[in-house]
């Protein structure tokens, strides 16, 4: 009896040690980022590194706004991310409702076409897609980025898997009550799908906010560029301004952190029930 509880204590200690080491590996780069963003360039590579107890240089957070058009980049990114996330949620959940709850000819075939394209990497058709958009006069417009991100097969697939788990009898009952399909979608399905919608919001928001290759190819004029492209540009131009680079990096993380922390309680539940795991 006694040895069992000792074993348990050892086991618990081991688990916590492993977890704390991992948490440190995951977190230290971020802590380093924050501390470095508040230092003079010359102090950042001082050995040993000073984690605390230095005079914070808040100036870095003011200077970056004048060094690069950070405000323009941020505005562009916020605009694109909000629009893409809105359209993604709307069109995906809308289409998914038909795939999960309605019967019609060609349903299985269409759905298969969707699923098949999930496995085709965007990178393998980005070139003709760009040429096509350029032909339509959409190169170097924000509309091109919105179109690029707003109609993904992944979103439809995810939402459909989630709706499959909602009993059909619920829809049947509503139909008998005389509700139209649009009403059922709006007043029954949407409120029930919060976990799936939250998960899709996190994925879409994060992907659009952090997208690099899309804006790199499409957006050429500086006034249209996004935060990621601007940040990379800044890093290439002022590669020795460590403090400023870190301050700009911290700023670029804030919105994602907020969205993630707001929605994360739904997150594991959303993945588990929507069958993203297959």
């Amino acid at each position: 009896m006694k040895s069992k509880s000792t074993n348990e204590t050892i086991g618990k200690t081991l688990v916590y040690t492993v977890l704390i080491v991992f948490a440190a590996i995951m977190l230290i780069p971020f802590i380093w980022m924050i501390t470095a963003s508040l230092k003079f360039n010359k102090d950042i590579f001082v050995i040993p590194y000073q984690w605390f107890g230095y005079e914070p240089q808040w100036r870095n957070y003011l200077d970056i706004w004048t060094k690069i058009p950070l405000l323009t980049f941020t505005k562009n990114t916020v605009k694109l991310t909000l629009i893409v996330t809105f359209f993604q949620l709307l069109t995906s959940s809308f289409a998914a409702y038909a795939f999960a709850k309605l019967r019609f000819r060609g349903r299985d075939f269409l759905f298969l076409a969707y699923v098949a394209t999930i496995a085709i990497p965007w990178q393998s058709y980005m070139v003709p897609q760009f040429l096509f958009m350029r032909r339509l006069g959409l190169a170097d417009t924000h509309l091109s980025i919105i179109i690029l991100q707003a109609f993904t097969a992944f979103g439809v697939f995810m939402m459909r898997q989630f709706y499959e788990g909602i009993p059909d009898s619920l829809c049947e009952a509503a139909r008998i009550d005389g509700m139209s399909e649009y009403q059922i979608y709006l007043s029954i399905m949407l409120p029930l799908s919060k976990p799936a919608l939250s998960t899709l919001t996190i994925f879409t928001f994060v992907n659009t906010w952090n997208d690099f290759l899309g804006p790199l190819i499409y957006l050429t004029s500086e006034s249209k560029k996004t935060l990621q492209i601007g940040l990379k540009m800044f890093i290439s131009q002022y590669s020795a301004e460590y403090g400023l680079i870190m301050a700009a990096s911290c700023i670029s993380l804030i919105p994602v952190v907020i969205v993630f922390l707001m929605l994360q309680k739904y997150f594991v539940a959303g993945i588990a029930s929507s069958g993203v795991k297959g």
């Binding site: 380093w32 590579f45 990096s249 994360q264």
Partner: protein, 310 residues
């Protein structure tokens, strides 16, 4: 008799009309997504397959060249290097990420204090912007002797300073380490979801049979997680073959050019298309990428079928 026929035909007509109406409603649900999807995804996919057999610089007329583009890329050193690097990158990244993600998921599926904190922390690098965290990594893993990581290795293990992304010998290793660190959290969450779907009675039954922790892992957890593992392997492998931005951030010079020691498939496509305007060559490279991913997917599906037949 005639009355009965009329009733029958009207009810058939009625049923048909109802079916049609139903179908129209269904199509109206799908249309907004499908139209965008068909024009901007399906169309370009078909176009990519045609362009791989053409010669085109973006302005002059297309010219059909048969398989010439494929002959060209398979005798191009940079393409072969990109293929080799992508494969090496995948071979290391896939199993390492998978093992660490599974291990962490199992630890974080237990009832322990601070579980949510640890979950959030592990997932965080995945949502953080790549440009920002890559900038931190480049500073931590600077090739200079005084770099944070180099100092740490020297003090703890007496390892002399490494050049990390600056040396052809260690650049891929640095990229692999970064990739595992950045993406592990995503797969951890997927495993966590998989673990939560396992019936706890299976563990209780195994416990009654006298199974220890390792035996429970081997005979309950692993087989029960098989579908999840299939999904994780396929997603990981596809994502590895799509790798581009990580390499661009860590190994691209200030002008973004990646040299032969770190070039990857997607960078080759990008370079041929948007720097050299060899659109046919780029499309041929795209088709190779597509073929590899397709092969992986087919292997995955046949594997899953075998599993279902077990």
């Amino acid at each position: 008799m005639t009355a009965a026929t009329t009733v029958k035909t009207t009810s058939v007509e009625e049923a048909n009309r109802r079916k049609l109406k139903q179908a129209l409603v269904a199509y109206s649900f799908i249309a907004p997504n499908f139209i965008g999807f068909a024009i901007f995804t399906l169309g370009p996919i078909i176009l990519a397959m045609i362009m791989a057999f053409m010669e085109w610089d973006g302005s002059n007329p297309w010219k059909f060249v048969g398989i010439q583009n494929f002959v060209t890329i398979f005798s191009d050193d940079r393409f072969l290097a990109s293929l080799k690097n992508t494969v090496i990158y995948s071979i290391f990244t896939v199993p390492l990420t998978l093992m660490i993600a599974l291990g962490l998921a199992i630890l974080l599926n237990q009832k322990i204090k601070g579980r949510n904190f640890f979950r959030t922390v592990t997932f965080f690098p995945y949502v953080a912007s790549l440009v920002a965290v890559a900038a931190v990594w480049n500073m931590l893993f600077t090739p200079a002797k005084g770099g944070v990581i180099n100092q740490l290795l020297l003090n703890l293990f007496h390892i002399p300073a490494l050049k990390w992304a600056a040396s052809p010998k260690t650049v891929l290793m640095t990229i692999i380490m970064f990739s595992i660190w950045k993406n592990m959290g995503y797969y951890m969450v997927i495993y966590l979801a998989g673990l939560q779907n396992i019936n706890t009675e299976l563990y209780e039954a195994a416990g009654l049979d006298g199974a220890n922790v390792w035996q429970k892992f081997k005979y309950v957890t692993v087989p029960q997680l098989k579908p999840t593992t299939f999904f994780v392997i396929i997603m990981l492998t596809i994502n590895c073959f799509k790798v581009y931005d990580i390499v661009y951030m860590l190994a691209g010079g200030s002008n973004g050019v990646i040299n032969k020691s770190a070039i990857v498939l997607v960078y080759y496509i990008y370079e041929e298309a948007f720097r050299n305007w060899n659109l046919g060559i780029a499309s041929a490279g795209s088709l190779v990428l597509f073929a590899i991913v397709l092969a992986i997917t087919i292997i995955q599906f046949s594997g899953e079928k075998n599993y279902a037949n077990d």
